[in-house]
């Protein structure tokens, strides 16, 4: 697969991306629109091209799958599972425990419309659950938001790196659109790095004291310290791991803030408006957590105004508002229920705002 251009669905790309990143064990549970991920990984099991890929199992439930990931990750290997929104809700228990136990692994959520069963169309309505620590207790996940099939293919490399560097789960938050979209992708040559897990992995206490992977601490003072230390790690990540894309923001008067597939549509609208002389740009958070708040604040300090566009009723909107601070206009355009805004809708929303401003 290396270097070669291939035509893949986003879901297939994230599966191959994980294999190229040295995936060792995958625990599956089928759910539309994410099922091509386990299907691809089932098909590739035993392929000698991926010598690190040693275990695939379809679990009996989302809970069983995420807990098998907990077990495998405790052994220090690269483990992964994928799901879609209703399944992601079920994964929250495991993710909370994993953050408390400081386990590194990769989860993919191909977000669909909610609440409840919703439908199979794209939404970004898992944003809160993804970025705020969707389970109980104080924790965060690293959250990467791919906007293309190419990024679906490459983000597992970043995802495992972040997970093992900080010993915390990483989430790739796609949606039904990025999962089902088919595009050309390249897999640049890559040698998966070796992660040193010898100080914590549960591999048998031979010639050393026991390793205990645990989220329980009945002593309040000790637990206060444990969670405090995890948040020190998060502070470090907030300082070092933020990723975003700026597109034509330098001279822009209005900046669209959008992530994932919406940023692609926004770019189309921006290009059309630019050709008509309207100064607009795009700010795309790539890490939804840690959120690129300083970069956004800087744009706000330059006097720019913002339009936040999302496939939900306004979730990242709250983080954008917090980042830019008081007195800065942030307008919102949201679509949900599987509906995606058109370039024309984004364009007309910006025009409308301009008329209002004038």
């Amino acid at each position: 697969m290396s270097k070669q251009r291939v035509y893949l669905k986003g879901n297939e790309a994230v599966a191959y991306g994980a294999l190229e990143a040295g995936l060792n064990a995958y625990f599956a549970y089928p759910i539309t629109p994410s099922s091509e991920i386990p299907e691809t990984l089932a098909k590739e099991f035993g392929n000698k091209k991926y010598p690190e890929y040693k275990y695939f199992l379809q679990a009996a439930s989302e809970l069983e799958a995420i807990n098998m990931v907990l077990g495998a990750a405790s052994g220090g290997v690269r483990a992964m599972t994928a799901t879609s929104s209703p399944g992601f809700s079920l994964k929250q228990e495991g993710l909370s425990y994993a953050a408390g136990m400081e386990l590194p692994f990769l989860v993919v959520d191909i977000c669909r419309a909610g609440p409840g069963l919703g439908n199979l169309g794209p939404e970004q309505s898992d944003y809160f659950q993804a970025t705020k620590g969707g389970g109980h207790g104080n924790y965060r996940l690293f959250v990467l938001a791919p906007a293309s099939v190419q990024e679906m293919a490459l983000f597992p490399r970043i995802g495992f790196d972040l997970a093992f560097k900080y010993r915390n789960p990483t989430l790739i938050l796609g949606d039904a659109f990025t999962g089902q979209l088919k595009e050309d992708v390249e897999f640049p040559e890559f040698t998966p790095p070796k992660y040193d897990v010898s100080s914590w992995a549960a591999t048998g206490a031979k010639g050393r004291g026991p390793h205990i992977l645990n989220s329980l601490e009945l002593d309040y003072q000790k637990h206060y310290k444990h969670v405090g230390r995890i948040f020190e790690k998060y502070k470090l990540a907030e300082a070092n791991e933020v990723r975003f894309e700026s597109y034509l923001t330098e001279d822009a008067e209005k900046v669209i803030v959008a992530f994932g597939i919406v940023s692609r549509i926004a770019k189309g609208a921006i290009n059309k408006l630019r050709s008509k002389g309207v100064k607009v740009g795009l700010f795309r958070p790539i890490t939804l957590w840690p959120f690129p708040k300083l970069a956004l604040r800087k744009l706000a300090s330059e006097g720019k105004q913002f339009l936040d566009v999302e496939l939900n009723t306004g979730q990242m909107y709250e983080d954008v508002k917090l980042a830019v601070g008081d007195g800065v206009t942030v307008d919102f355009l949201g679509k949900w229920g599987g509906i995606v805004p058109t370039e024309a809708e984004i364009e007309s929303k910006l025009r409308h705002l301009e008329v209002l401003a004038a």
Binding site: N24, A25, F27, K54, Y55, L57, A59, A60, S61, L63, E64, N67, M68, V69, L70, G71, A72, A73, S74, G75, V77, A79, E93, G94, Y97, M101, A202, T203, G204, A205, K206, G207, P210, H211, I212, L213, N214, S215, L216
Partner: protein
């Protein structure tokens, strides 16, 4: 007593830490801890063993067993164990679950670990009650038994009757070893008055060893151990031991339910 071959290692075990346990007076969890640690020592597997600590009275086992531990979410211990065992097949992986953990919230994880004949070892401490949370009804609570959530006795019309986990698992093709033993000493009457026998404990010890042997042979091993919870049963300790044989063992008969590798005969 003299007829029984009593081989119990006395003194400090390598597989145990020096920490005193938190278990209540009369509780058999401490007994099981000792039996498992003794088996780990005898089979020389401590250095390659990972215990999955399940939610319930056994959740603090990482303080007692001198080996690696993973503390699993409530009911999920067999799934966590399976995940680790599949990527590290050279390890011995076991868990001690309570009846609420294994038979209620975690029944799916247990059933599927058995169905796939996952080479792990599961010990189920059946004391017919939720101990750690303070004595609520468990799936194994006997019909008519009083708990804090069945204050007028377990009503089968509302909650169904006791769940027999060993019978359930032995009906699943996949599980290699299913056995029910008892950790309670048994009261017998003799001409000299009451005496207590530990013959069931010796059988439990053998079951623990067999359960590790079956895992080494590549099979799923399950041992259910009838136990008391005199605190939550609100019963004197010796009355509780008697309750195990007079009531529990009638609903949950002791014995070998499945033994694919024939380890019981060895």
């Amino acid at each position: 007593m003299s007829q029984l071959s009593l081989k119990v290692k006395i003194g400090k075990l390598e597989s145990l830490t020096d920490n005193p346990t938190h278990y209540c007076a009369g509780c058999e969890h401490g007994t099981l801890t000792r039996l498992i640690a003794a088996a780990m020592d005898e089979l020389r597997i401590r250095e390659k063993t990972v215990m999955i600590d399940s939610v319930g009275c056994s959740v603090l086992a990482y303080n007692y067993f001198n080996c690696d531990h993973i503390v699993a979410p409530h009911g999920r211990a067999p799934a966590v164990a399976a995940g680790l065992k599949r990527v590290k097949p050279e390890l011995t992986v076991f868990t001690v679950q309570g009846d609420g953990d294994a038979a209620s919230i975690g029944l799916l994880e247990l059933v599927y670990a058995a169905k796939r004949n996952t080479p792990i070892t599961v010990f189920l401490v059946n004391n017919a009650i939720y101990g750690m949370t303070g004595g609520q009804m468990a799936p194994t609570t006997l019909e008519g038994q009083v708990t804090t959530t069945t204050p007028f006795g377990r009503n089968a019309a509302m909650t169904g009757t006791e769940l027999d986990v060993s019978k359930l698992l032995s009906g699943i093709d996949g599980a290699a070893y299913v056995k029910r033993a008892s950790l309670a000493v048994q009261e017998l009457s003799s001409q000299r008055g009451k005496v207590y026998t530990i013959k069931n404990l010796l059988d439990a010890k053998k079951s623990v060893e067999n359960a590790f042997k079956v895992q080494a042979l590549g099979g799923f091993a399950f041992v259910e151990l009838l136990s008391t919870c005199s605190i939550n049963w609100k019963m004197p300790i010796l009355d509780a031991k008697r309750f195990v044989y007079e009531h529990m063992a009638k609903k949950f008969p002791l014995g070998v339910y499945k033994d694919t590798f024939g380890v019981e005969k060895q």
